[in-house]
């Protein structure tokens, strides 16, 4: 199953790139994809880019798309809200507060495309890099801030653990939601108080479970003698041709996206 945040073993080119190059390339490509998803040709190019990256990473794209399919109701809502409620100078159809316009449909499509493409790209990062690798990459990227006396190692650790926790808590949330629904959960009542109170059995167990996980993880790390970055020895990273190439290619894609943004 290719759910967001799960690492998949492999020996592809993307698996072998050094952490700092991988995370840097990811951020450059992310900005490029967001820029590209503002136009229809850009969306097509971004999809092609994602397909190429997934094939280079040896990761199956279909399970990732299937994982995204779960959010179809949300995406359809976004599309319909934009298609029918965007004020437009030349509407295709207008009645009361409803205004169907091609501009509104395009805005909705762009929003959905951005969400899908960004999620697929992030999903690829977590599929080809272990949390440790992502931490190392983030640490390298955040290193300049350490001159401002910011504890960049700790921030990198926090973000890396957060990324690891996302699929775990998402699964937990889904189970709680399903079990609540099986017991007849529904957002009932017109009064705000009733609506708010109906969320308590949904949110409270998720929070308590998350904090229990944090507590367990703290105990485990302290038991293994974790004392932050103090006294830790790190293996020196050797950069290969693939690292330089990945960053150059990402910059080229970014430059292409910027140029295309000017055209459209």
């Amino acid at each position: 199953m290719n759910m967001l945040g799960f690492y998949q073993r492999g020996d592809s080119v993307l698996h072998c790139i050094s952490p700092s190059s991988l995370v840097t390339s990811y951020f450059i490509l992310l900005i490029a994809v967001v820029m590209l998803s503002s136009s229809l040709p850009g969306i097509v190019l971004s999809i092609l880019l994602i397909i190429i990256l997934y094939s280079y990473g040896g990761i199956a794209l279909l399970p990732a798309v299937r994982a995204l399919w779960r959010f179809r109701a949300f995406m359809i809502t976004i599309f319909l809200m934009n298609a029918f409620f965007q004020p437009a100078a030349e509407p295709l159809f207008s009645w009361w507060i409803i205004t169907l316009s091609s501009d509104g449909m395009m805005i909705g499509l762009r929003m959905i495309a951005t969400i899908v493409l960004v999620t697929l790209l992030s999903s690829l990062l977590t599929a080809v890099a272990t949390p440790l690798k992502i931490t190392d990459g983030l640490r390298a990227l955040l290193h300049p801030f350490s001159y401002l006396h910011l504890r960049t190692d700790e921030i990198a650790l926090i973000i890396s653990i957060a990324i690891t926790m996302i699929p775990v808590l998402a699964r937990e949330g889904r189970y709680i939601m399903l079990s609540s629904r099986s017991r007849g959960f529904a957002v009932h009542g017109n009064k705000i108080k009733e609506r708010v109170l109906s969320f308590v059995p949904l949110v409270l167990p998720l929070f308590l479970s998350a904090f229990r996980k944090a507590d367990d993880l703290t105990s485990a790390m302290e038991a293994r003698g974790y004392r932050g970055e103090y006294g830790r020895k790190r293996k020196k990273v050797h950069y290969a041709k693939a690292d330089v190439l990945s960053i150059i290619l990402s910059i080229l894609v970014f430059a292409g996206a910027a140029a295309l943004g000017g055209v459209y």
């Binding site: 967001l4 700790e154 808590l169 957002v187 308590l208 904090f211 703290t218 302290e222």
Partner: protein, 174 residues
């Protein structure tokens, strides 16, 4: 609470900033009405301190954008400012009020008001200069998200009380 525990609590709250909106979006209009990302940030500030609160408030929306594309790019800086302030003020108030019986509620109220003032000022002078007026500020930050405010005032003291009961918020011995 040890530094490691603070860091891990912050990490879990950042993860909840990504997961909770997913859960709430499964319910029609749930995301807009209940501002689910505010909950973990406020709680992080209250439980783990102002520093963790700020990190959670900034990293939470950023990570949510990277993993789910929400909130959209134009809203991202505004949300990072607003949530960063929530985490900061909630944690800061708890430094002074953690021994008081109503400390959590007062911290929450101060954080919500201060965060909304800073976010409104940031929108008025930086993000959307000229477009922000007092009625718009009141409508967008208090009226439209009234269910979210009530939910935060109900749920956060409940969760904090449960964490206190389990000994999660206890100070480190020695």
């Amino acid at each position: 609470m040890s530094v490691l525990k603070r860091s891990l609590t912050c990490a879990v709250c950042i993860a909840l900033c990504v997961v909770l909106p997913m859960v709430f979006h499964a319910i029609p209009n749930g995301g807009v009405l209940f501002s689910p990302m505010h909950l973990p940030v406020l709680l992080c500030g209250i439980v783990a301190g102002w520093c963790s609160g700020v990190i959670c408030g900034i990293a939470g929306p950023l990570l949510s954008f990277l993993f789910t594309g929400m909130p959209g790019l134009p809203m991202l800086p505004q949300m990072m400012t607003e949530l960063g302030c929530y985490g900061f003020f909630a944690g800061l108030m708890m430094v002074f009020l953690h021994k008081r019986r109503c400390g959590v509620i007062i911290s929450l109220l101060v954080a919500m008001i201060a965060g909304r003032i800073v976010a409104g000022l940031a929108r008025a002078f930086i993000f959307t200069p000229g477009a922000m007026t007092l009625p718009i500020w009141i409508t967008s930050y208090f009226v439209s998200c009234l269910p979210a405010i009530i939910m935060q005032l109900v749920l956060i003291p409940l969760i904090y009380a449960a964490l206190e009961k389990t000994g999660f918020t206890e100070k480190e011995q020695g």
